[in-house]
Amino acid sequence: MTHAAAPTVADAPLRLTHLERLEAEAIHILREVVSEAEKPVMLYSVGKDSAVMLHLARKAFFPAPPPFPLLHVDTTWKFRAMYEMRDRMARESGMDLIVHRNPEALARNINPFDHGSAVHTDIWKTEGLKQALDKYGFDAAFGGARRDEEKSRAKERIFSFRSASHRWDPKQQRPELWNLYNARKARGESIRVFPLSNWTELDIWQYIHLERIPIVPLYFAAERPTVERDGLILMVDDERMPLRPLERPVPRSIRFRTLGCYPLTGAVESRAKTLPEIIQEMLLTTTSERQGRAIDHDQAASMEKKKREGYF
């Protein structure tokens, strides 16, 4: 987003758009963390929010590459297209990519079909993330979470402090004033940092559109093999998905509003093949983004509980 600074009369004020202000805020946050943390890392989940966050990091440190690695906490159950995009973006950004798979989950073959979404998510993602942060000694981790995603996020700080056991205490959050972030912590403790805190889903899409940021093709509608289960349209992404009796994959024109493990991520029927069409659909839609995620339906305050336990 360059401002074509026309040589105007007597320096007329530059009217920054909301996206320009959000971009500047995120860049400011990224630079603060790099200056104050000892060993930062960017959690890269390959979704659209991660795509925006990575793009902002490349802008923040330009012409240098971002001075931290990308960390993908893998569950082995992501969509194939996500793995392709992940490897491509690591190559293009010139950043190191660390892939962590919880060895215990791997050994026990934890999967959403046999163990259910809660156990699957907890062992692969929550435990996997803690393992990776401990293993590499990262003291600050960027995440792409936004405050508009759900209610417990709305109160989380941009710099969210975690104890040595990775727990979040919503009552012990540090007040955050102006753009002065307190990144100080004791050895063993860490901070999760959310540069996109003040972005909404619409902001993310508009920014991707404006900046032409590459995203996983699954966000665009296409004919894909699907089954319908428990009210969710699931995509049969590989042969590991056990089909129920009489269940046959049906081709449907679908796309995803959010991406995660394919057996847990519900698709929406759609014909939106371009970003403007996606944005249009989003504006006219009547359900919230997280509805496609099985994880939130478990219990009312499920997200807050998961976050206290160390989920990102």
Partner: protein, 637 residues
């Protein structure tokens, strides 16, 4: 119901449905407004925000279904939707029915995106409201039309004004419960304006609303034809954003990070806090004071010709100036001040109270230094705005105090520039953010004068002399023995190859201070000048010895604060008045007693003995020679 779900006053999706490309172009040019809502638990604040979110279609059907279920289970509105439940996030607060923290909400219209800081009105109010207000351009002050201006209304207004929010809009809520009565509304607004004027707030806009029924929230109210102004949303869409004002100030950019990917590129990354910069501009890097010019304004999207407040950029300079994180790039001819002692308003945010004298981390811009807060001058009763005596500040207390930092800070007064005048205090042990502050001014007026950068540093001067500079400050009654002992100390130090200089009270009054008499004001000025001279001499690397009565604690403290930590050594020559008067070497006591000498310390002018001097010499138990040995030993050990 004045505005039902079917009859929403605001329809954001019409253009999106008809022409998405036109919609996108329109939404790319939206601006951003951040505001804070202030009200107490019963003012209907959550309901009002919930209504804004609902009417601007930020609530989806699945959320609405959950809301309807929650409303029946937990709501306070019978069978109707309880909008407050949309806004109250964490499980604990849902049960208590109150919000406990600052939450940020988002909504947008075709003209603007809004970020609302929602803060509670109960006992944690000060901390949370100050936090929410620190990033807000505007404050919406909620008043319950049935209750009018309350103590908490005044408290909220004081706090947002303290944080520098210059734009207030009064939302007189629950108009439906007072029969949409114009007289009631007018009385409340007049009452509030009178109070606001007493705070120095000159502009207050007001809107009569009903958050519950939707009157004047996102659509004009049919029940209040007497009100012809904009509804709340229209007002928020059209009000001017603060960023424009920040751009009119002189350039300030705290350097966050030095970008040096290879030997050919050296850039200084930061967010422009105020003003604007063009390629070619001459800038000054502070605190060093070096000037250079900007060769490039680098961004990933290409170099810019000009950048202004709010933008995150990377600047390249024409010269290899020394510049690192925490330094401030400023307009060369309008630099900010540099100082290490300040007066500030401090808001305390931790359970453990402020400990005057304790070291805290202070972060301002991109600089973190060690700071000591002195005992507060007073604290403010936020309900009555009275000034109260205070020894400390407890959680949620607001006070005015002076503070000193261990290294110079580049700053602007908060009232002029929020970005370079606001700071946070961090506990060094727990790392918690314990306080926030707003700088008023530097304690020493001389700090307003810009520092010329010098190539030979004070460290270099001291190094050449193989010594650590110090000030040996002798204080005591006339005739106590200050000059005698000071003279012996200097002789002993010189014999040890130390570079010294003795400033004697009588001698200085023959030259530098010959225009000064012995009134209290002149005594203060006498000591101030001597302090300055002593400081220059320590800069030159000398061990300075001073022998002045220096009767007042405040001035001795002032001189102490001028010096680096540990450099000021206060030596109290403790001779009782009777003893000094008995000696009366110069015959001055006799004259004073005879009324021939006015304002004589100990006779008709007070002497305030030091409370904790570094060295105390009791001349009734020790000879001058022994005293001098003691001082030299203490200095050199």
């Amino acid at each position: 119901m004045a505005a039902s779900a079917e009859g929403r006053g605001y329809r954001p999706d019409a253009l999106a449905a008809a022409d998405i490309d036109a919609y996108l172009v329109q939404h790319q040019h939206k601006t951003l407004l951040r505001f804070i809502t202030c009200g107490s638990v019963d003012d209907g604040k959550s309901t009002l925000i919930g209504r804004l979110l609902y009417d601007t279609k930020l609530i989806f059907e699945d959320q609405l279904a959950a809301l309807e279920a929650d409303s029946r289970r937990l709501g306070t509105q019978g069978q109707e939707i309880d909008f407050a439940l949309l806004v109250d996030g964490l499980a604990a607060e849902r049960e208590q029915g109150i919000t406990i923290d600052v939450a940020y909400r988002f909504f947008a219209t075709e003209k603007r995106k809004f970020i609302v800081a929602d803060t509670p009105g109960h006992e944690q109010y000060t901390r949370n409201m100050v936090t929410g207000a620190s990033t807000a351009d505007l404050a919406v002050i909620l008043i319950d039309a049935r209750k009018g201006v309350l103590t908490q209304t005044r408290r909220h207004s004081y706090l947002v004004n303290l944080l520098g929010i210059r734009r207030l809009v009064l939302a007189v809520n629950k108009m439906d419960l007072v029969g949409y009565d114009q007289a009631k509304y007018d009385a409340i607004v007049a009452d509030y304006r009178e109070f606001a004027a007493s705070l120095g707030i000159d502009r207050v806009d007001a809107i009569p609303v009903s958050g519950l029924r939707g009157d004047n929230v996102t659509a004009a109210s049919a029940d209040m034809p007497w009100y012809s102004g904009p509804h709340l949303l229209a007002y928020l869409e059209s009000v001017e954003v603060d960023l424009t004002a920040a751009q009119a100030l002189p350039l300030r950019m705290p350097v966050q990070w030095v970008n040096r990917p290879n030997l050919d590129f050296r850039g200084f990354a930061g967010t422009i806090a105020s003003g604007s910069v063009r390629a070619g501009d001459v800038v000054r890097v502070l605190p060093s004071g070096r000037t250079t010019s900007v060769t490039r304004i680098v961004t990933a999207g290409g170099d810019l010709a000009r950048a202004a407040a709010g933008q995150a950029v990377t600047l390249c300079f024409a010269d290899e100036v020394d510049c690192s994180r925490g330094d401030v790039v400023a307009r060369a001819d309008e630099p900010p001040e540099v100082a290490d002692q300040f007066e500030a308003t401090i808001v305390w945010m931790a359970d453990e109270e402020l400990l005057p004298g304790r070291s805290y981390w202070l972060k301002l811009g991109a600089r973190t230094v060690t700071a000591t807060v002195h005992a507060p001058k007073y604290k403010v009763n936020v309900n009555t705005l009275e000034h109260l005596a205070a020894k400390t500040l407890e959680l949620n207390a607001i006070g005015v105090a002076t503070l000193s930092t261990d290294s110079p800070l580049v700053f602007d007064p908060y009232a002029r520039d929020r970005a370079l005048g606001g700071f946070i205090l961090i506990d060094k042990l727990t790392n918690a953010t314990v306080g926030a502050g707003m700088l008023h001014f530097a304690l020493r007026r001389s700090q307003n004068v810009h520092w010329q950068a010098l190539d030979v540093s004070r460290e270099k001067h001291a190094e050449l002399k193989h010594q650590k500079p110090a000030v040996l400050w002798f204080t005591g009654l006339s005739g106590a023995g200050k000059s005698t002992i000071a003279n012996l100390v200097e002789k002993k130090l010189v014999s040890l190859n130390r570079h010294t200089f003795l400033l004697d009270g009588d001698n200085v009054r023959h030259g530098l201070n010959k225009d000064l008499g012995f009134t209290d004001a002149d005594r203060v000025e006498n000591i101030r000048r001597v302090g300055e001279v002593a400081r220059l001499m320590t800069d030159a690397g000398l061990i300075v010895i001073t022998a002045f009565i220096s009767p007042f604690r405040a001035e001795r403290e002032m001189v102490r604060k001028m010096m680096s930590t540990g450099e000021f050594i206060e030596i109290f020559i403790d001779t009782p008045l009777a003893e000094a008067e008995k000696r009366d070497v110069k015959g001055l006591y006799r004259k004073a007693r005879a009324g021939q000498l006015r304002n004589f310390t100990g006779v008709d002018s007070p002497y305030e003995p030091p409370e904790s001097p570094e060295i105390r010499i009791d001349t009734t138990r020790m000879s001058a020679e022994q005293a001098a040995d003691l001082v030299v030993e203490r200095l050199l050990r």
